[in-house]
């Protein structure tokens, strides 16, 4: 289509940017970092949007055929599945969490913490028995698997219902400001068969899906470079890569996706979501999630339900959604915030800059990007711990989330609920939930005067 034009536009933009950054640096009176080189957060896949569509456009540098795949995948991503047999979009359930991709990743963004935990939402429980399988994977709970489906097509019983109670946790800043965090305590109730008392429960919420192809294209070598399992440099931070069983290749691979980096590829992530979240089988996940359960089989023998082409289109779509550019990078406050972000060591794990290597989609290859993540696992302390191991991730460990686009969450999704279960109601709360390896950074945050906290937040919200 018009990719030459788009490319031209990128060049124009870069020129513009530098012309204005020159002015800015002349007037700089404080020793603040220049953020100018971080503008193209997704490299050439960057878009300049500030609207509710900020996460939802194709990378502007896609080839015509990659754009065509993306647009086809876009339709698939929004398709609502119905009870089989049907002429279109058949195969929902029998048990499921939601009926379309977009319903858990609204506007390709972040799901809100649900007001009703048992309405269809972007929230569910992962479960397992204590211990691990031979390949390191979680041990499925008999009759429930590794994910609880709290919905079912009419006439079938969901696996159970989610329940949460909250307990106040008071955090006090050095200046006396109080924040009351709500610590969730989850349980599974009304199960269709008894649920083992020793089973582990870990909540999850749908996360944004843009920029994923870039994360997939960061070289393993580059990710491992930041690994420091035994904290040899004694900075209190010991990033660790997860290595996971990959259904696509049938081998153990570096985990990159999911809240505990338990999935190696976007393709498997998509197949897993179709299967686990919607009850749609595909060639990669051909067995219904409720196989062998009284509530899990529709007896139609129609598996795999999803055409291979659709699975591949949806994976291509998630790989090629553009990354929104940061805003206000030249503002003094934002630059001060960036300095604080380094000083209190947020950037130790939320590493700003990465680069991609080879990628089958040429638009994603050899890009300099600013995801603000090391893609490694870190002990985040007891407050966030789920006590549920997942391959090499132990019960305290979570993968560093990318921060790109985070400041657009409100305009895109109408909320600012963060972390793996959406428990934090804003960025301040999300920071205050950090513990473990991030405890020192959190404590430094609490020592900051209000003005510095505001600058830090302004920087994070500029992303």
């Amino acid at each position: 289509m018009n990719s030459p034009l788009k490319y031209f536009a990128c060049l124009v933009l870069t020129a513009l940017f530098f012309s204005c950054s020159d002015n800015e640096s002349e007037s700089a009176y404080e020793d603040l970092p220049s953020l100018n080189d971080r503008l193209m957060a997704g490299g050439e896949t960057t878009v300049f949007l500030t609207s509710s569509n900020s996460f939802s456009t194709p990378a502007p540098n896609l080839s015509a055929s990659d754009l065509s795949d993306h647009l086809a995948g876009d339709v698939d991503f929004e398709a609502i599945f119905v009870t089989a047999p049907a002429s279109i979009n058949q195969g929902l359930g029998t048990i499921f969490n939601n009926s379309s991709c977009v319903s858990c990743h609204p506007r390709d963004g972040r799901a809100a913490f649900p007001t009703n935990l048992n309405a269809k939402s972007g929230f569910f429980f992962r479960v397992s028995l204590p211990g691990q399988l031979e390949n390191g994977g979680s041990i499925p709970v008999p009759g429930f698997g590794t994910q609880i489906q709290n919905q079912a097509i009419f006439g079938y019983q969901p696996e159970g219902k989610f329940q949460v109670t909250f307990q106040d946790v008071v955090e006090v800043f050095a200046d006396g400001t109080q924040v009351i965090l709500k610590k969730p305590n989850y349980s599974l109730i009304d199960t269709y068969i008894p649920f083992p008392g020793n089973a582990l429960i870990s909540p999850r919420i749908g996360s944004p899906v843009f920029g994923l192809g870039l994360l997939e294209a960061i070289t393993e070598e580059d990710i491992l470079q930041n690994q420091d399992i035994y904290d040899v440099n004694a900075d209190g931070i010991s990033g660790k890569a997860n290595y996971v069983f990959d259904a696509v290749s049938g081998t153990i691979q570096l985990g990159r996706f999911g809240w505990k980096a338990n999935t190696a590829t976007i393709l498997e992530q998509c197949a897993g979501a179709y299967n686990g979240d919607m009850g749609i089988t595909s060639y990669l996940k051909p067995i219904e999630t409720g196989f062998g359960q009284t509530n899990g089989e529709d007896g139609l023998g129609d598996d795999p339900e999803l055409p291979d082409a659709i699975l591949h289109q949806v994976a291509a779509y998630c790989k090629t959604l553009a990354v929104p550019a940061p805003r206000n990078l030249t503002h003094q406050t934002v630059r001060r915030g960036a300095k604080i972000f380094e000083e209190i060591q947020c950037a130790k794990c939320h590493i700003p800059k990465m680069k991609t290597g080879h990628a089958s989609i040429s638009a994603l290859a050899n890009q300099t990007i600013f995801p603000y993540s090391d893609l490694l696992l870190h002990d985040m302390g007891e407050g966030l711990a789920d006590h549920r191991p997942d391959f090499l991730a132990d019960g305290n460990e979570w993968k560093t989330r990318p921060l790109w686009g985070i400041g657009l969450t409100q305009v895109v999704n109408g909320h600012t609920h963060f972390l793996h279960d959406g428990r934090a109601k804003n960025i301040t709360e999300a920071i205050l939930w950090h513990g473990g390896e991030a405890l020192s950074a959190k404590n430094k945050f609490k020592q900051l005067p209000a003005q510095d906290r505001a600058a830090l937040l302004e920087f994070i919200n500029s992303l």
Partner: protein, 353 residues
């Protein structure tokens, strides 16, 4: 969600980032911008949702009055469905805010119809209530459409069953509650999402500048023009490897698709002009006309041509995708031309403000 757009006008964002962020007050357009944003969010968007809600109340009443064999009342229900459908389609140029963040779109407009779910509910012994349907996709416009027109579009009142009537009333009540939630989400005395536009650029608004809010309006109408051309018309017209694919037509039971599409373009018209029903307020057109009268005239002309071309498709859309393909192609072409002018002329103009 969308298209390969939004690439034209983005340089200005950059410029804005260089300039002082307190420049809103110094902007000579800021008073006009505020008028446009206020009128559009309150007198167009909120008013569209108000009509949607009011008409859905009438639809519920009509459904409650329906009895088996009462053909006149079934016609009244059909008319009430069409009347409710119209403001919904006229709202698809602004699918941001509560319609999205509160999950109302799938509750109102879920498609395709889950016929198996409907039959399973009908065949169960459970009372069918709005609450029962609350967590199910088997509700909303198309489920109601299915009950009153039937799969082939020729259902009569004598074919209705008691259980279907029970379901129909529950579905109408559920639609009513969702449209109320949507209307209240924008209403200034309630959720007041409109405030984000009225006070764009000020604290309390999710838009950090008036331009950002104007761009939201612009992107919304670009997206629906793209959706009509490359989705709603294209898939039924060519979805079967270049041949017609009638099962992909959204409002096919009621044969309402042509009106749906025309009302989608009217949604663009309403946002662009700042007009709705008897209101003729400030819209994007006033800003555009002050900058470039040719662009303004172009956009207005393309809107009118697109609506005319859709209305010129002979007979039903279902028939036309087989027997009047050139007329459908012409309508598709006109909508695509509208999209191009919005994306290549309107968006850059607003971006570069």
């Amino acid at each position: 969600m969308k298209t390969n757009l939004f690439i034209f006008g983005f340089t200005s964002l950059l410029l804005a980032s260089c300039s002082n962020n307190d420049s809103e007050t110094a902007n000579p357009d800021s008073a006009l911008n505020k008028e446009i944003l206020t009128n559009t969010s309150v007198n167009v968007i909120t008013a569209t949702y108000s009509e949607l809600y009011n008409n859905s109340v009438a639809l519920t009443t009509a459904c409650q009055n329906l009895s088996i064999g009462d053909e006149a009342e079934l016609t009244a229900v059909k008319n009430a469905w069409v009347a409710t459908r119209a403001p919904w389609e006229k709202s698809e140029g602004f699918l941001y805010g509560p319609v999205d963040t509160e999950g109302i779109d799938p509750a109102i407009d879920s498609w395709p119809v889950d016929v198996n779910a409907i039959n399973n509910i009908l065949n169960s012994s459970q009372a069918i209530t709005s609450t029962l349907l609350e967590n199910d996709d088997a509700r909303g416009f198309h489920t109601i459409e299915y009950f009153i027109w039937g799969l082939s579009g020729n259902k009569t009142a004598s074919e209705l069953t008691t259980r279907e009537l029970e379901y129909l009333v529950a579905a109408a009540q559920n639609l009513q509650s969702k449209t109320q939630q949507l209307y209240y989400g924008w209403l200034q005395s309630q959720g007041n999402f409109a405030n984000n536009f009225v006070n764009a650029g000020q604290s309390g608004s999710i838009y950090t500048s008036q331009k950002d809010a104007l761009l939201e309006l612009v992107e919304g109408i670009i997206i629906i023009s793209d959706e009509v051309a490359t989705g709603k018309i294209e898939t039924p017209l060519n979805g079967n490897n270049g041949a017609a694919s009638p099962q992909d037509e959204e409002s096919r039971f009621s044969n309402n698709s042509k009106l749906d599409f025309a009302n989608n373009i009217r949604s663009i018209q309403n946002i662009y002009l700042g007009d709705f029903a008897s209101i003729e307020g400030k819209g994007l057109t006033d800003l555009v006309a002050s900058k470039n009268a040719t662009t303004d005239a172009n956009i207005k002309a393309k809107i009118t041509e697109a609506i005319s071309a859709i209305e010129a498709i002979p007979g039903t859309f279902t028939d036309a995708i087989f027997n009047h393909r050139s007329a459908v192609q012409n309508a598709q072409q006109k909508v695509a031309e509208l999209k191009v002018v919005l994306e290549s002329q309107l968006q850059p103009l607003i971006s570069n403000l």
